[in-house]
Each structure stands twice: as C-alpha cells, then as structure tokens.
C-alpha cells in the first residue's frame, strides 16, 4: 500500500464518470460566418490585416470558438451530461469559472457564408486542485468544428470550475496603549478635542502626556485645548516593512502645533510624496472601523491650496 497521503475526493470520483461523454451534439453556430462579426472582432483586437476584409475575406482563424458561442441566449446543442457536470460543481460550491487553456488547430479558413456545426466531448476532468483563485476542478472539452460535414478546425478548451477563496478580512489597526498618565488625552480625542497638558505651576505645555513637568518637576497639571493648527516640522514616508493594517506608502508627520508642542500623526489631503516640511496643517478627527470596533484618531490635513504641484 502506498504511503502517500490520499485526500478523499468523492466529488472528483463522480466527476470522472463524465469523461468521454458528449458535451455538445450537433451544435449549430447561431450565425453563419459573416463580415460584420469579423469586423467587430478585428476592431476589438486592433487587427488590421487585409486578409479579413474585402471580397476574398477569411475569418481570423482564432475566431474559431466565437462561431460556436451561445452568447446571451445560451447554448442549444449542449448535452445533459455537460450541464449535469457543471451543476454538480455548482452545487459543491464551485460556482466560479475561469478558462485556462485553449488549443486550436485550423484545417481550412472559414469564409463569410460558412455555416458552422460542432460536436464536443468531455475529454477529461481533473482531481480536486487548489489554486490561488480557490479549490476546484479542471474540465477539458474537445470540439470538432465542421462546415458541410468537413472538419475545418478542432478546439480543446480547459476551464477551472472553483469555489472562490475567501478574502481575508482586513487586519485590525493597532490600538493606542492607554494608561493613567495619558487617558485624558485619548478621552479628549474621542470627543474630537486635542488636549495639551499644561503645568499649573510654571505654565509649560507638554506632549506626549507625562506625570510631571520637565521644566519644573511639578506634578500638578491641567489641559489646554489646541486650536489644531500646525505645520509639518518633519516627516517620514513609510514603505517597508508593511504592517498588515496599513497600506504603504504613507506619510507620517511630526506636526508642530500653533501652541508650540509637537505631535505625531498621519498627514492627509495630499499624496504621500507631496508632503513637505513647513506645510500648514489642521487637525481632523477620523473614525476608523474594523473588526475590533471603532477608533477615533487625530490626523493632520494639509490646508487647502498647499502641498500641490510640488510648490
């Protein structure tokens, strides 16, 4: 007995049973080969070859499959077997489809007026495969295209029918570390007020919040509400390492407030590469929602009329 790990795939076994069964029998092209459809194709492809217009026009050989397509109104020649196969896949969650391979052989050119008939067989069904798009099954069909009974081309086509991979929810933003020393600042932010600590003894303003005054050592303080006006004192543009919650590149500013203290925050309102030292900014409070709830943060928006055109 093999030691290789065998993942049970009962659906795959059921799908295998469809190999060799017809996918379309005596299908008929909805339109005869015709000049307008050839012209539309050439316009879309940007194909200006003279072979595809005029009295001796042929159809671009790569249009082979187009003549067999069901279009908006669907296929008529399709068999129960092929529909069953697709229904089984749909029912198992493999609702999405993408084409992966196309192999065509052209035995003679198609010309306007040719009436296309086709037969198609389910050539193979793969086992369960996991791809970047999701997990599913490759289904290969082979189609013979005929005009007046003569084989004019063959067409092998492979699709992946798959269950779309779930998108990961965005990572939650990191939360500020809130303690006794800085709780007042964050309380202010939730109320859309930017509070600066002020020593009640010597009047020195300070930020970030600290238990005591750096100037005089006094432990008593009160707060002053900032006007929110400031200028970019310095900045960095974050490129690397990327943090899951953020989308680099983005600019992080050190903003000098009108009151004199400096504060770190995102600079918004201009592209990251237009942030410059000295740009006037105004605080605004932005609410970020993620899986862990809402969070209000101060950000600094460049004042209108600044920061554009590299001025």
């Amino acid at each position: 007995m093999s030691t290789a790990e065998v993942v049970p795939d009962p659906l795959g076994a059921r799908l295998k049973a469809y190999e060799g069964r017809p996918a379309a029998v005596a299908g008929v092209g909805k339109d005869p080969v015709n000049a307008p459809m050839i012209r539309h194709w050439c316009e879309a492809m940007g194909d200006t070859s003279p072979a595809y217009s005029g009295p001796d026009a042929i159809a671009p050989p790569t249009m082979l499959q187009a003549w067999t397509m069901g279009g908006l109104s669907g296929h008529q020649g399709r068999t129960g077997a092929y529909d069953e196969l697709l229904s089984l896949l749909d029912a198992s969650g493999c609702t999405a489809v993408v084409a992966t391979d196309c192999e065509q052989e052209y035995l003679r050119p198609l010309r306007p007026g040719d009436r296309v008939a086709f037969d198609s067989v389910i050539e193979s069904v793969s086992g369960r495969k996991t791809t970047k798009l999701g997990t599913g099954y490759f289904v290969t069909t082979r189609t013979d295209v005929r005009v007046d009974g003569d084989l004019v081309g063959t067409h092998r086509f492979r699709i992946l029918k798959y269950a779309p991979a779930r998108r990961k929810p965005p990572a939650p933003r990191p939360r500020p570390v809130v303690g006794r020393d800085n709780a007042g600042f964050w309380q202010g932010v939730t109320e859309h007020r930017l509070l600066i600590q002020r020593c009640t003894d010597c009047g020195t303003l300070r930020h970030p919040w600290l238990p005591g005054c750096n100037a005089c050592g006094c432990l008593d303080w009160d707060t002053l509400e900032s006007s929110g006006e400031g200028t970019v004192y310095s900045y960095v543009v974050m490129h690397h390492p990327p943090f899951p919650a953020f989308d680099p590149p983005y600019a992080v500013g050190l903003v000098e407030l009108a009151e004199g203290v400096r504060m770190v925050g995102n600079v918004t309102g201009v592209p990251y590469d237009k942030v410059r030292i000295g740009l006037p900014v105004q605080v605004e409070f932005r609410t970020y929602e993620d899986a862990e709830g809402a969070q209000v943060l101060p950000v600094f928006r460049v004042v209108d009329g600044h920061g554009e055109g590299g001025a």
């Binding site: 459809m37 539309h40 194709w41 316009e43 879309a44 492809m45 940007g46 194909d47 070859s49 003279p50 072979a51 671009p60 050989p61 790569t62 249009m63 499959q65 187009a66 397509m69 069901g70 279009g71 908006l72 609702t95 999405a96 489809v97 993408v98 084409a99 992966t100 391979d101 196309c102 192999e103 065509q104 052989e105 052209y106 050119p109 798009l133 999701g134 779309p164 991979a165 998108r167």
Partner: protein
C-alpha cells in the same frame, strides 16, 4: 504585386515585441466580439464577488491577440495552423501586456513560434503558434 522582402524563417530568431494596453474597453470589446458574456469580463462588482479584484480579459481575446501578433509580423499571406495557449496572471484594466515571440523550429515554410505575453503581474499567456508563410525563405 507583393514587393515586400521575403520573410526569413530562422530558428532562434526573435519577433519584435508588441505592446497591448489592457484597457477596460479592450477587455469588454474583446469579450463581446467573441460572444463571451461571462460577467467577470464586463461587470467589476460580479468579478469581485468571485474573488477577482476587477474584470479581466477573456481567453478568446488573448487568443485573438496572439494570432494577431503572429500575422502582423509574418504578413497577410501567413496561414495560422495551430494556436495553443495557457493563461497565467490575469490581464486587469490599466496593465500593459507585452507579447514576445521566438521562432523555435522551422520546417520548410512552416515555423513554430513560442509566444509569451507578460504583464505587471507575471506571465499572462504562454503558448505556441504554428504558422505557414508561403513565400518564406527557410533558414532552419
């Protein structure tokens, strides 16, 4: 009268590249011209629900562009015999696909050309085209 110089078929020769701007218009026009109404080729919202960031080019358009690349180069008398392609990285709007080709083998007036179409995400298409060029001078 054909005054064009005789095309040489030389194994190992490279075809000049062809740049294709992958616009939303090209994607939708190609899908409709090929009678392919799968919503992922014209409806961005449906494409997103199926795990794709945007609409993307359908295989029939890619096939048509590969055919055009070969016949643009070898001229209107060239006869496509086989086109076999495999898709990789999708062609999304805003990207550019650069088609390149190398003549892999020559048999009389018939050449096998290896074609690659690369976009910003990687290889959109790899494939092989067999083409007969009636007036060609074979240099295998």
């Amino acid at each position: 009268m054909n005054t064009a110089p005789t095309t040489a078929l030389t194994a190992g020769a490279e075809l000049p590249p062809l740049e294709i701007a992958v616009t939303r218009t090209l994607i939708v026009a190609g899908a409709i011209a090929s009678r392919d109404y799968q919503d992922v080729h014209h409806d961005a919202e449906s494409a997103r629900q199926k795990g794709s960031p945007d609409v993307f080019m359908n295989i029939l358009t890619t096939n048509g562009l590969v055919g055009r690349y070969i016949t643009d180069h070898f001229g209107p008398t060239a006869i496509l015999r086989k086109v076999a392609i495999r898709l990789g990285a999708p062609n999304y709007p805003g990207d550019t696909m650069v088609l390149t080709g190398t003549i892999e083998a020559v048999d009389g007036d018939t050449a096998t050309v290896r074609v690659v179409g690369a976009n910003a995400l990687g290889r959109h298409v790899t494939g092989t085209v067999t083409v007969t060029v009636p007036d060609a001078e074979a240099r295998p």
